[in-house]
Amino acid sequence: MMKRDECFRVLARHITNEAVVATYSSAVDWVAIKPRVLNYTSIGAMGLDISHGLGLALGQPNKRVVVLQGDGSLLMNLGSLVTIAAVAPKNLVHFVAHNETYEANGGHPIPQRNVDFASMARSAGYAACYDFADLDVFTQQVAHVLEQDGPVFATLHVEPSKPLFYDYPSLYDPAKRQAFKAAWQM
């Protein structure tokens, strides 16, 4: 089992001009590790993060989009796996931090802790699917995960983290949305 922030530190070394969609606990960790204008943390409703990611990927097919989603969020929008597989954006990489809990809502367990998200994505028709539970393996393979044609899916098996501070006014700041839009169109 890995720690989410450790995974994101490894991932951050490979992020340059990609849009990174991150929400809730993943967003808190990510913006602390890699603050940048191309972070996209306003999604309006739980579960919609990957749908925003699809829209971003369609809008700029020559740029890459990385989504950092939680397991609870994916469970709220499981059909999105099928939608994305059908649309098949080559520039979309979809990570799910599988900590088996609704961490931002009190740490309660998800309904089925050992649900196999990567198999679901594979069955839906994603181009490539991965399961990572070892940080050394993730470190070794993350560049390949990010570079190949998508849609790519990867489960990150992580521990629930220590209590986080959710600064929602900052994550949902309208000025950040405007700045993102300007940077994304450059």
Binding site: Y40, S42, I43, G44, A45, G47, L48, D49, I50, S51, H52, G53, L54, G55, L56, A57, L58, G59, Q60, N77, G79, S80, V82, T83, A86, V87, P174, R177, F180, K181, W184, Q185
Partner: protein, 177 residues
Amino acid sequence: MEAGGAATDGKRRLSGGAIIAAIKASGIEYILSVPDITTSSGLLAPIAQNPAFRLIRVCKEDECVGIASGLFYSDKRALMLIQHTGFLDSINAIRGVAVEYKQPICMMIGLLQHDPDKPPRESPRYGVRIVEPILDDMGIPHHLISLDADVAKIQPAIENAYRQSRAVAFLVGRSPS
């Protein structure tokens, strides 16, 4: 009598082709849809065959809100083509993205089993009756599209939605032909 009756029927017609032309003239590139029986044959089926649009078939209507928002950051225009039941199911997404973030989420909503000769607020069907009051409470402008004469509302309303960065809803009260 026959001529008069024909004229009345003609006035009650709703042309799917005219709606599609208005959508295209509004700069809409993406149609995001879960099928709706009111708009199935008159709008969705021809749109699926129309190379002017990119149709994204989604599994659940709230996905449309996220996809449209993502496209908005590249100034790509999208229209959700859904049923009123899907609108009701997507209220939280619409609340967050369209209303609180003030984004131009454009919705074309078929009123399932609606009597096109009655105002939606007077529908015997609860689900139809509550659509306009919900839109009013959320501050989302809406337009009833039941007759050919209503089609002229579409392009100015979409242009206004993008100019003001706010949502708009079109309620399709009759099956387009």
